[in-house]
Symmetry: C2
Subunit: 525 residues, 2 copies
């Protein structure tokens, strides 16, 4: 497929009029053709109107039709073949195997949401039948289901050009909920975005859905992004990216005459706690494995372990020494964009120049452009507690070890943490009580708690929580990975005494959709 | 029980230091003893610290212990006996039978939440067991449950001094979720608040719970209310009241370094649609019944029908004429407070003086203080569409009929509406297709859709939605009445590869709590 540099608005392709966005191959700093001229308020207007026009019909598609549509999107993405992988590799600097894996995850999560749609549990049907003879007052017939919120804007993320971009988790869950989606493409991978966008566009057509179910816009965050979030026809938005970018759009969403849910996944340093017995038994091996996680995807995972918190002592020293050796052996890796590379360099320089963090080791210096050097630093609990800057995320493969004098200090550091996507315990049996004492604080701080694993790598399944208290996300009540993500785009509606002819299928008396409904306080089926 | 005029902070009673709040019997304008001196930042600090200290223990109470606690609260409220009813009648001007009914609802909803807690569905347990042999990558063991958000602030509402105040729906659902609660009492009924607060305080003690599970503060919204919502230990808040008050506190909640969910139930005019066939068949009876709903509780229900939207014509004229007759026969009723009465008078005067609304009828003028006169006005669709002020809520027993020339205009008026708690269709069989055409818009506009009923009267059950798009509430994804209200105060946490010894009861392998868990995509039990 030839890339045209156009935006996709419903079933049409439209060339923008603003300065073109052009992808850069970060491995070579070469500019990739074509340019993608940005959109304006006119294209925002057109995409929003189409999405609005499509909404009532799309949200009432049958469960089977909507599931089939999601599967068709996956099929169409797979049908793009090697062209998609090549373009994504060129635009992201990520290895081919990683992009192939990410494509599998992307299509897998679309198909998983197809299963979720068919199951229908997301409708959360609750029925309280009429009790005409109840004293002192009869009860009316009350039936509840969930309906889609409305058109949703999705901001593509740079670090997962497939799995968290145009057809990524936010798009899949919003489409599953019955919401039309307008994607604001990330500037780092416009060609990948066009390819995937055209796959979705084709799936919309093949599925006979209203064209406004999907649009893809290019352009600046300030112009197109803010205009989308501010449009009254948009009823929610999903975002994965930086804290500053997320907060700016979040504020725009809250400043509307009608505020809307804005799901931003922003900033997390994912603390790792090597506990005493585990440190003693396997500090060295743990140090090496830790650096393996730190280097995953050039440290550009949202769940990258940017912080280690442990009791000071020879066992921790052994861990740090082993980790330092592994850091020294870490090859340079190409980062996603020149901008991300620069931010990483300046973040590491800030840490090194803070006077509060001691450098343990740096990895190999890269020979090509935009290559990150892994880094490991150590600080004291006192310095960490005294300087907010040490808690800021350095997006990339650098981590900071916080040495705590005793359990009290360790608890203090823990309570001082901002919200996180993950926290990880490395523990042996003898650490059980130490872990138990830490757990309540960890539950308050993070969306996912791991034992003896590493936070990088997020399974797409029912039980996953990729979320957490602010600033990990803007809404700790939700997850952006896994099937529960669908609930972000739904709201309950109650129907009182509706005649059978007007009831939605999900609520009809004889349960034609065979749902497990909550009837009079008891679960059916 | 003698009222002392004190705040309740944990198990202590504390006299405030600010100007005393004193209840006024709206039926007589008499001041009721004692005065309730307001709290300051010092009491906010103390209550928040106690709530925070109680949080980790309270959120992990067993399902049975927490359910029993809610039942004990209900028992203690009932044990207050007639003293509570008398005081609430004196402070609210509401009839004794209404207050008795409201006490029944209040205790009923506490016991309903006890059932919800025991059932454990709110934990939403999801388990994806490890798949060590999966290719290309093994799956780790992932288990999700919901945990309480943290200490919650509840703002008591004036219009339900029991059911939506100190031990009302917000408090019951937050306590059920495992959140300590700090209530900021409404100034209109401080004595009722103290009585109910002391009942909860006694239940906390009898249940052996940490004292910070409940506190009750008096004071100004600006000082005490804002301080509570801004405190970093507070993780959510519930509010029922005016749009201006709700929005001010909502903004404070969003302006924190860590924004928190703020559930405000604010403003709704609850449109009623008498459809053509129904109007023709029973316009007169419908007009009378409508005024019955309009006059409920002196029009001070959140779901009061403040708007009628219908096709112009002789059938609507008959409805309006009958409603007008019923309005003329409506006796004056005492409103909740002098302030609410004044706001009502000024709202009605604004409508009458707008030049765009024709007065059809007014009810009897009261002889006592603070007595509202029922009102009915008519306007044209064009005027309604052209003047935002006509859509503003007049809190009290006045309603506005919007005459539409045709179905197009009716649709335009509908799309123009702000978000609502309820919309009501009055219809006969012959109206089915008209209703079907309206339904998508109504689903987008309201949390509850009624057929051939009246919106006043909200059943507390599983299927209820007392919520709706902004400005009906600040968060359309939730309800503040009914069992689903518990989800407002929960967030998911995922546990990866935790040893059995550290797993919460709800997630242990042999399902000791006998929950209906989602295991590997299938529902257990």
């Amino acid at each position: 497929m030839n890339l045209t540099g156009e935006m996709l608005i419903g079933q049409t392709a439209v060339k923008g009029s603003r300065d073109p966005i052009q992808a850069i191959n970060p491995a070579t700093n070469e500019r990739l053709e074509p340019g993608y001229p940005g959109g304006t308020q006119a294209e925002v207007e057109r995409a929003c109107q189409l999405a609005w026009d499509a909404f009532d019909a799309y949200r009432e598609t049958s469960l089977e039709a909507r599931a089939k549509f999601l599967e068709t999107v996956a099929d169409e993405i797979e049908a793009l073949g090697d062209a998609l992988v090549e373009r994504a590799v060129a635009e992201s600097g990520l290895p081919q195997a990683r992009i192939q894996g990410e494509r599998g995850r992307t299509c897998g999560q679309l198909r998983l949401f197809a299963r979720v749609v068919r199951d229908g549990e997301w409708l959360d049907v609750r029925i309280d039948p009429a009790l005409p003879d109840r004293q002192p007052m009869p009860r009316v017939d009350l039936r509840q289901r969930h309906v889609a919120l409305g058109p949703v804007v999705v901001f593509g993320a740079s670090n997962f050009p497939l799995a968290f971009s145009v057809a990524g988790g936010d798009t899949a869950s919003a489409l599953a909920a019955g919401c039309p989606v307008i994607v604001k493409a990330h500037a780092a991978h416009p060609g990948t975005s066009e390819l995937v966008g055209r796959a979705i566009q084709a799936a919309v057509k093949k599925s006979g859905l209203p064209e406004g179910v999907f649009s893809l816009l290019f352009g600046s965050g300030r112009e197109v992004g803010t205009a989308l979030v501010s449009d009254p026809r948009i009823k929610a938005a999903g975002f994965t990216g930086s804290r500053s970018g997320g907060l700016a759009l979040w504020k725009a969403a809250q400043s509307r005459p009608e505020p809307i849910p804005f799901y931003a996944e922003m900033s997390s340093i994912n603390p790792v706690y090597p506990l005493p017995a585990a440190l003693k038994a396997r500090g060295e091996a743990m140090g090496k494995a830790f650096v393996g996680s730190l280097n995953m995807g050039a440290g550009q995972f949202c769940t990258n372990p940017g912080l280690v918190i442990a009791r000071k002592g020879p066992e921790l020293d052994a861990f740090v020494a082993a980790a330092g050796e592994a850091v020294k052996e870490s090859g340079a890796q190409t980062m996603l964009t020149p901008g991300i590379f620069e931010a990483y360099e300046s973040g590491v320089a800030g840490l090194a120049g803070s006077g509060k963090a001691r450098e343990i080791a740096r990895g190999a210096k890269g020979e090509g452009p935009n290559q990150c050097q892994t880094g490991l630093f150590v600080t004291s609990a006192a310095d960490f507690l005294g300087d907010e800057a040490l808690q800021a995320e350095v997006f990339g493969s650098t981590s900071l070890v916080v040495e705590c004098a005793d359990d009290d200090e360790l608890k203090q550091v823990t309570e001082h943490l901002e919200g996180q996507l993950t926290v990880t315990l490395q523990m042996d049996d003898a650490d059980t009580e130490t872990a138990r004492a830490l757990l309540p604080a960890l539950e308050r701080k993070a969306g996912r708690i791991l034992v003896n694993g590493w936070p990088t790598g997020v399974e797409v399944c029912d039980a996953m929580v990729h979320g957490g208290p602010f600033p990990a996300t803007s809404d700790s009540r939700t997850t952006s990975v896994g099937t529960a993500a669908i609930f972000r785009f739904l709201r309950p509606v109650c129907y009182q005494d509706l005649p059978e002819a007007l009831l939605p299928e999900a609520l009809k008396q004889d349960n034609p959709l065979k749902l497990k409904r909550l009837v009079d306080g008891k679960r059916e089926g």
